[in-house]
Structure formats: C-alpha cells, structure tokens
Amino acid sequence: MMKDISEDIAWAKINKDVLKSLENPRKLYWVILFIAIAMVGVAVGCEVYQYNIGMGVANMDNPHMWGLYIATFIFWIGMSHSGTLLSAILHLMHADWRKPIYRFAEAMTTFSLMTAGLFVAVHLGRVWQIYYAIPYPNGRMVWPNFQSPLLWDAMAIFTYLSSSILFLYVGMIPDLAIVRDNMHSGWRKKLYSALALGWEGTDRQWRNFRVTYLTIACFLIPLAVSVHSIVASDFAMSQQPGWHITSFPPYFVAGALYSGCAAIITLFIILRYVFKFEEYMTLSILKKIVRLTFAIAMVWTYLNLIEYASVWYGHDQASKDVLIQKATGPYAPFWWMMNFCGSIVPLLMFFKRFQTNIPVMFAVSLLLNLGMWLERWMIVAPTFSHGYYPWTWDHDQWPSLIQWGIVFGSFGWFTLLFMVFCKVFPSVSMYEVKEMVYHRKQATKKLATAGKGAH
C-alpha cells in the first residue's frame, strides 16, 4: 500500500520545505500569476464598461434577465464547499490524509466565496445602491425584504465568508508563528509577528487552539450546507418551470462538493508541481481525493437523475417542456456536454490506474469543473428562454463578450488571490503534517512492535 506520507521526514525539513514555498517557487508560478493578472485586467475593463453603459452590454434581455453572472456565481459558491469538506468534515472524521492539503482547500473556500460575492455586485443593475439590501437601522426607515431568498443568500454568504476566513486564519496561527520565527527582520517579520498573535506553543495555547478550531469547524459545517441550500432556494422558491424543484437544495450541495473536489484535484496538481510539494502532496493522497470525488460524482449523478425523473413523471407540463427544451433546444449541446462531463467523465476515476495518473486526473478535474459550470448555466438560462409565457420565448440571448470576459476574468481573480496566498502563507499546514508524520511514525512503530511480538 502506498503511504500517504513518508514517516521519516524530519520536522526541520518540513519547515524548510514549506517555508521554501514562501521564497522561491518555480518559474511557472510567475507565469501563472502574470496570466491571472492579465485575466483580472480583462474583467475589470469589462466591468468598468458595463458599469458605465449599463447591463445591456452583457447582452441580456427581457426575459433573459440572468446570464452567466448568476451561473458563475453559483459555480464559485459551489467551489467553496470543498475547503469546508476537507478541513471541517474530514477533520471531525479524523481522516488524516487531509492534513497536507486542507490549508489550500480552505484558502480556495475563502477566495471562491470572495469571487462569488463579486458576481453579486457585477450582476446588479445598480451596484452603487447595494447597501439597500443590507439590513441595518438607516435614515430611510425601511428594511430590506426578508422574504426574498436573495437576501437570505447575501446573509448566508457573508456569514459563511467571515466564518471561513476566521477558520482559515485560526488554523494558520501555529504555522504563522513558525514563519515568524524563521523570518529575519524586516516588514515581513513584523507582519507575521502580528498575525501570529504571540503564539508560543504552550500547552495552554495548544489546548485553547484545539477547542477553538473544533468549535469553528462544527459551526462551519451546517453553514456550508445551508449556504448552498439557500442558493438553491433562489431557484426552488421561485415559481418558474425548471426551477421550482424540491430536490434542489441537496442537489446543489452535492454539486457544490463535487465541483469543489474537482477543483482541489486541479490545484493539488498545480501546487504540487509549482511549489515542489511532491513529498507532502503524495499520490496516495491524490488517490484518496479522487475516490472521494468519484463517490460524490455518483451522488450528484443520482440526484441529477432524480431531478429529471421527478420532472418527467410529475404533471407539471411547463417544467417538462423546459427539460425537453434543454435536451433538444438551442442549449442542447451544452446540456449534453454537462451530462457527459458530470456523469460520464468521472467514470475514469473508477479505474485504479487513472487514479494516480497526474495528466489524466488533471484533465478529468478540469472537465468535471467545466461540466459543473455548465450545469449551473443550464439551470439558469433555459428557464428564461422557455418560461411560462410562450410569447417571450427565446430572444437572442447569447452572452456578449463582456459577459464572457467577466466570467473569464473571475478565474484569473481567483487564481491571483490563491497564488498570492500560497506565496505569502504556508499553503501546507506544517504543524498538521508534523502531527501526521508523528502519527505515522507511531503507527509504524506499533506495527513494527506488533510484528515483532508476532514473531
């Protein structure tokens, strides 16, 4: 059996290897960073234009009120679930193998949420009035509408975002202290000193740290589930055919975990190479994530089929029409592509020899995410082009370059944040890896002793 991690890595080496990522990544890092900045530039340009001229430049129309922005918003919200899954759920379940990779997964959570939040703003017709949606005592003496799922959404996202930032930060404190201790003087030392909150590694500190971490983890899990359920209720609570589906919340959560896991595979492979983390992000771990992803893929496929079936065998003709239109109408290529990427491609993960094949898994993970992105688009768009009112069916609604540009740029934005994070903060949790190595050692020792005893 492959080992998740080698048990004979010296602790000093762990420190050294991880801290190295703060200093000299491979050249590819800078290439990625540069591309990401360029992509963000494109998006900013598009957004400035859209802000000045109006939402029309995105080529949405009546009744195609929502476009890629909302689809991509859901996509990014979905992405964020992987971090919570790995760090909180698997933490509670004592899955040790998560340790080298949960940090970046958490960062992914935070940054994809931030990206998703931006899409809310990008989507709004009058983003400069966004404070109208915030419930606070104000001079206008009016509250926002608490009945609106959109408001729940905003609240859920903000709560989730703040909690996950907290979670990410709290979990990093011991590592920040290590970084601090390894820094020579200078502003960076000051920064890390401040962030480390005077961590000394005393028993008391460790005890409080563990309780706090555990508490936040427990708190985060229902939040993660609720946040995507609420996003789902944006649709499920509406009256539109193709949206008004009871199974949407679990379906959305499954989809979220799915795309999150796929993204973890992608980033896992990139980080492993860029920051030379081969020793920590081992193929054995990759295999585990891949298996997890496969399981979730099947859950998603199941829920997806349930959705189709419930529509098909239900007696709501309008919803059925939307489903038929998805499969046969102008969106058919995307819809079939989504089904292919979401349900067929993951079958590759079933095969052992692919599970650790890095190029294959890289390609698969990208395809899965493409599929999941398409899934969101296929939830949002076809209902608009085939709603209740036939007179308004299907005006020309192909998203404009502006819309694509902003969606495209959001990937750059996410990558930028993520890459900067990995350069500034230890993206592999040093203390947890040490623990892991320690546990591993203990286990091997025990095994050895046990073996001896047997003889």
Binding site: N62, P63, G125, A133, L150
Partner: protein, 285 residues
C-alpha cells in the same frame, strides 16, 4: 426602525395572500379587457409610451429583446394547421397583471416592488437595485429592465423631445426594473382630489392611459370594491372572483359555460387583477 418595530409591522410591510386576508377597502384597482372588442391596433401601447416616459430603444436593442413596451399587443394564430387564418388572428394586450399574490413581490431583496393597500403592485424605481429577480419570477414576463441609460448616454429624448416627458413619472435611469403601474400617477391625483373633497374616487374619475386611448373601449379600469363601478359589474357578471384560483366558468363542463371572463395563469395562483373576456367568433360562417 428597530427589530421589534420590524416584527410588529411585518404584516403591514407585506401584503398577504388574498384568501382570508383583510378585505380591500376602500380601493382595489382592477381591469377587464374585452378581447372581442380589442382590434389589436396598438393605440394603447403608444399611449403608454406617451404617458409613462417609456424610452424608444431603437432597432438594434429591440432585436436583442430589450424593448420597453409596458403594454405589448400579442397576436396569436390558430394552431390547427389550417392554411389560411380564415378566422382572423387573436390579439391580446398584455401588461403587468397586478397580481394579488405577486410572485415578483416576495423575491425582491429590497422590497422595491410591493403591494399597495389599493391592490396595485407598485414599483419604486429609486429603491430598485437591479437584481432582476422579480422579472425572473414573473410568469407573464411583463417586467422591463433598463439595460441602458436611456435618458443620458443613450439620448433617447434628444433636443426638444425631453419636453414631452411627463413630470409625474420618474424617468428611469440604467439598472432599474419597470413595468405597468396602472398609471399610478393618475390614480394618485384622483385619490388626492377625492380626499380633498371628502369622498372616495368615483368610477370614471380616473382612467389609465391605455383605457383612455382605446378606440374600441375594450379596456375598463376601476375600483373593484365600488359596487357601482363598471369593472365590478363586469367581474360580477362573469363570476370571476379575485381570490379564487378556479372560477365558476372552469367548473362547468367544457364548452357549456356562457361566461367568457378568465384570468391568465390562474392555476399558478398569482390572483391577477386583470380579467380578460374571451374573443368571440361567429359559428355561422
């Protein structure tokens, strides 16, 4: 503005389902449109442009489905495969149905679209942040979004044209949702005049722009609470009730009913305030 005041006034803030709700008093504005009289001439639609400062978006934007006609005339053909439409076409003026349980109202994050005690689904332009959720949830798709800044960058009202703008109606800038308001500016004036005189608005005191223009008088508008109003009488005669999702007509066997009043998408239970009267076609020819 405190939380307790929010909880206290929750029911004021939100109008509930019309069933078992507080009855409308003294006003419930409603319409009835006789499709047999409607000739599809578009006068109502143009009158609406004139009254409500609707922007003319131009060919290109119209092609993108960004037209801003609050009132659109739909033309339907028979679908039985006949070669010529030898029974004519069917025209349907479609505008905001001012639903009592409006799907748009519940989803607006800021309450920019909300129900007035008079039963109008009002749209507060300046409160709108442009989430477009209301339109997404509207079964009739009668909400129109300002995709562009028509008054300024688009210069829809160049030179002297802007002098035609109705000062009683806001000129909407970009990013705002808008829709038919039952000419609420006219209703407001009529209500104020009535209040000054210590009475309620009589039938005929207020006409919507479309109703006023309509050459065949197919559109009636009035107060459904007022038993003297034409609209009340029409609804009554057609046995259409505001708070029901199935009417007397539907309960009869197919084709047996002599009533022609119906509301569109009644089964979705938005409880529209607009009743249509079926178009009649002669059976003898």
């Amino acid at each position: 503005m405190s939380v307790s005041n929010l909880l206290e006034n929750w029911s004021e803030f939100r109008h509930l389902h019309p069933v078992d709700d507080v009855p409308h008093d003294p006003y419930k504005w409603a319409m009835s449109i006789d499709l047999d009289a409607c000739s599809g001439c578009n006068a109502c639609s143009v009158a609406c442009y004139a009254e409500n400062n609707l922007p003319v978006v131009g060919k290109e934007k119209y092609a993108h489905g960004q037209a801003m006609h609050w009132m659109r005339i739909e033309r339907y053909w028979d679908e039985d495969g006949r070669e010529f439409p030898d029974q004519g076409a069917q025209f349907l003026p479609m505008m905001c149905q001012q639903c009592e349980a409006a799907p748009c109202e519940t989803v607006c994050p800021v309450g920019a679209t909300n129900h007035t005690p008079d039963g109008i689904n009002s749209q507060i332009y300046n409160r709108c942040i442009g989430s477009r959720y209301c339109s997404a949830n509207c079964p009739f798709k009668v909400r129109y979004f300002n995709w562009y800044d028509y008054p300024t960058t688009d210069n829809v009202w160049p030179a002297e044209m802007n002098q035609q703008l109705n000062p009683d109606v806001t000129v909407r800038g970009k990013g705002v949702m808008e829709k038919c308001t039952f000419c609420i500016q006219r209703v407001t004036v009529a209500k104020n005049n009535a209040k000054n005189e210590g009475r309620i608005v009589h039938d005929g005191d207020v006409q919507t722009a479309c109703q006023q223009a309509c050459p065949t008088s197919a559109i009636s508008f009035g107060n459904l609470v007022d038993k003297e109003s034409k609209v009340y009488k029409q609804w009554k005669a057609q046995q259409v009730e505001l708070d029901k999702d199935a009417q007397a007509k539907d309960k009869n066997e197919e084709g047996r009913s002599e009533l022609r009043g119906y509301r569109i998408f009644e089964e979705l239970r938005p409880y529209p305030s607009v009743m249509y009267l079926e178009r009649v076609r002669e059976s003898a020819v």
